[in-house]
Chain length 542, copies 2
Amino acid sequence: MLGLIQDKQLLVSSLIDYAALYHGDTEIVTRTVEGPIHRYTWRDVQARSKKLANALERMGVKLGDRVGTLAWNTYRHLECYYGISGIGAVLHTINPRLFPEQIAYIANHAEDTYLFTDLTFVPILEGLQDELGSVKGFIIMTDEANMPETTLKNAVCYETLLAAESEEFEWPQFDEKTASSLCYTSGTTGNPKGVLYQHRSTVLHSFAVCMGDCLALTSKDSVLPVVPMFHANAWGLAYAAPMCGAKMVLPGPHLDGQSVYELMDTEEVTMSAGVPTVWLMLLQHMQANDLGLPHMNRTVIGGSAAPMSMIETFEKTYDVRVVHAWGMTEMSPLGTTGVMTKEIEKLPLDEQLPYKAKQGRVIYGVDLKITDDDGNELPRDGKAFGNLLTRGYWITSGYFRGDGGDVLDGDNWFDTGDVATLDPQGFMQITDRSKDVIKSGGEWISSIDLENAAVGHPDVVEAAVIGIYHPKWDERPLLIVIKQEGSSLTREEMLEYLDGKIVKWWMPDDVAFVDAIPHTATGKIQKVTLREQFKDYKLPNT
Amino acid sequence: MLGLIQDKQLLVSSLIDYAALYHGDTEIVTRTVEGPIHRYTWRDVQARSKKLANALERMGVKLGDRVGTLAWNTYRHLECYYGISGIGAVLHTINPRLFPEQIAYIANHAEDTYLFTDLTFVPILEGLQDELGSVKGFIIMTDEANMPETTLKNAVCYETLLAAESEEFEWPQFDEKTASSLCYTSGTTGNPKGVLYQHRSTVLHSFAVCMGDCLALTSKDSVLPVVPMFHANAWGLAYAAPMCGAKMVLPGPHLDGQSVYELMDTEEVTMSAGVPTVWLMLLQHMQANDLGLPHMNRTVIGGSAAPMSMIETFEKTYDVRVVHAWGMTEMSPLGTTGVMTKEIEKLPLDEQLPYKAKQGRVIYGVDLKITDDDGNELPRDGKAFGNLLTRGYWITSGYFRGDGGDVLDGDNWFDTGDVATLDPQGFMQITDRSKDVIKSGGEWISSIDLENAAVGHPDVVEAAVIGIYHPKWDERPLLIVIKQEGSSLTREEMLEYLDGKIVKWWMPDDVAFVDAIPHTATGKIQKVTLREQFKDYKLPNT
């Protein structure tokens, strides 16, 4: 027997309609690509998104068509979020920092019909346009006064396009499982794979973001997403902000410490979100200029693990609460957020820090478990670590066009590729990537834990640990170290230093001193390259 | 094109699974019907709900079967919420304060298969059992030691029933639109009508309750719902609490000021919810005994309008923020909550009070509009008032078994039966019930506004305003007044007092002094009876 409740679909357009009607005067402030600060309101976002919707329909864009964006966090990009998804087309946010050939691969794989681009990326697209078979035209997100000379074929000025259209538009109603947006993961191996979000999953994820125990976004917040709108929907903030009527502050292309700080200060930003690198720049700017953040009460740090020292500085020096968060593009992206328990909050700050350094607690809507390689579930005791699996309302069921094949097991669990612990209070902590964990005689050794222990030595600049073939144990850890210039640190001294800091059987079998360790563009150690480099390495006594 | 996201249904059972796994140690504290305080955890709620699920299946209860409860707010009632809905049966919460013949009507209309009852209501059911054709048995919610002598046929002790069952139970998965619970409105006219909630609507409503801008329920809260679990799911708190892992404190049958206060104090309650009458008893108890509520930071007041003086006392004397809320059984029930804007919060408290006296702001997920009698939408200017219509994710589409016919218009709007204003900030204020508003020459006069103005006179004990037939204006207001004993207040003095306090054309055409004004059981003025009483009344000069 079905319940008797109205059959209203969870659609992205309802978010902007709500904000316009009930928080119509709340501001959206943008530092534009062209330079000046731009201000308007949620009512304006709705009106202009409807103009865009009319334009798209006139251009022949239909339900299910992909429309790409190469854009910073600006009000025009926000209009694309609602105008494109609102008519049932698919907003395809492209990461413009990728190599041009990756951008071309992605736009072709998605079969984008049109590309919206900021001024910044016009030169890239000019170089690529002949390879973009499906693209019928380019919309340059600026006004006539700032339109560049361009060789782009069928280039249209965004403001000119909108000026011709009416603000009257009735959002179409359709199945809430319809695709709303598309975002490609920038995998370290193989081609990027597309994650295709639904209207339904997007709205459900927004509810979670607004929950008091998650990011607790409200109409009293002024939120500045430093995390790009081309990266997993700015962690959902571009949808959650209108759901609760928060003020949005959009930094455009200017992510340096000074620019971000200025906006935070003048716009009385209460909450922000970004990766550790961005916060490092902000902290350096504040320290150098003796500044504070009196309006800010919390910041979300994700993308990669927040260093303990960064958490401590935010909390102690600036009285800003750090919400350590974890997720993936495949998870819309939020999985866990670093909200403390009532009991932990009563502890002195120093005793809270180890909990804040974990990746946070599980939100309703997401389920996590850890398993061994045979798929057996491991205990949630904060010690056992295993493959981290997830399922839930906003977790991918497979990549666009079937790339990567079946990604779910029989019970709908998706393997995150991370190795983690879960504790009884619901905290999750990443201990490794599953391809980096060292499997020694059926037991697992965390490469990250070993690296963290090794860098504690004052002579160690950087450390990486990889597994090396061992005839008896399958794999044993090799510690690879860059030492301080002029240091005489030896293999024996290094291992002696680790003694007592790690369990005995985790002790690396050998230490290799090197001059450089390879990194990815986002600063992570490239373990694949290291493994390739050391593939013929022989451990002592084997 | 559909998005590629896991197809996980929004089911009530997922709420208790989440709480058990991620907030397993958090307590549920009950003042039991038998007397003692009972404590256990979310993990226990899940385990015992699963025992109940096993028992229900053994009893032959199937998907869609209705199972009734006559119960206070206790842990056993909470187990019914999850055990009954969890297997896909329909939890039918019956208001045990109704007249016995109404209880019989409701149980028969619902075709309840079993009735779960607290000890308190065994005598009522003993008297009714011969009329309850569909009921196969009664489960008395107590243990063997407290089982009463009873004439109830097929009476089973709840604890004995559960003791025989395993905690192992896999919740079935089914369509999220499946009915989860059923609650009858106690309409002032006609038979009660059943509102049939879905699993989906219940979970979506819970998300809203946990939103920072709604009730902001979190795992740090200790929540005491005084509002009964038999009344619109305790305003959703019995579902929202496990969604965020809040501690629950359940008062059982003891709703007097002292009992409620004691629990609030010992269990460090941070949030509560109930009708004005309950808060009146609590405030009187605290004032008489010079007590405070140091842990409480907010309380939700709904059911009927919170008097300004009550809001002021909570805020000024006890430093407890009042969240004035409005909703209906037909709305799951939340529609608006009294969360202030950033700007209003900066005002001195006295200037905030008029906003707090309004019924609150619209939550995402619900839409409201006001219309005139021809269905034309009226402006959201805080002045115009009209019929209040609603639609949204958790609003009824019709009553059980089609009672009351089509309740939605062509655009899915449901008429709330209230007359209200909406303002540009999203606040809604009830100005009347639509059947009580006075329609004078095509314009509307609020009976409530006139009554509020009249009771300002020191000689007026109570006032009621109804519309009386007028040959030219259709209706004109008659003011009905109970004056202080010994007062010599005249018609002319009364009208003179109102002069300048109301717009001129709202001035009552006459004043009738009476000794008594009829009230409903919940203390509201019975306008239907008044209109009947004055149906032959002739206004002067007509």
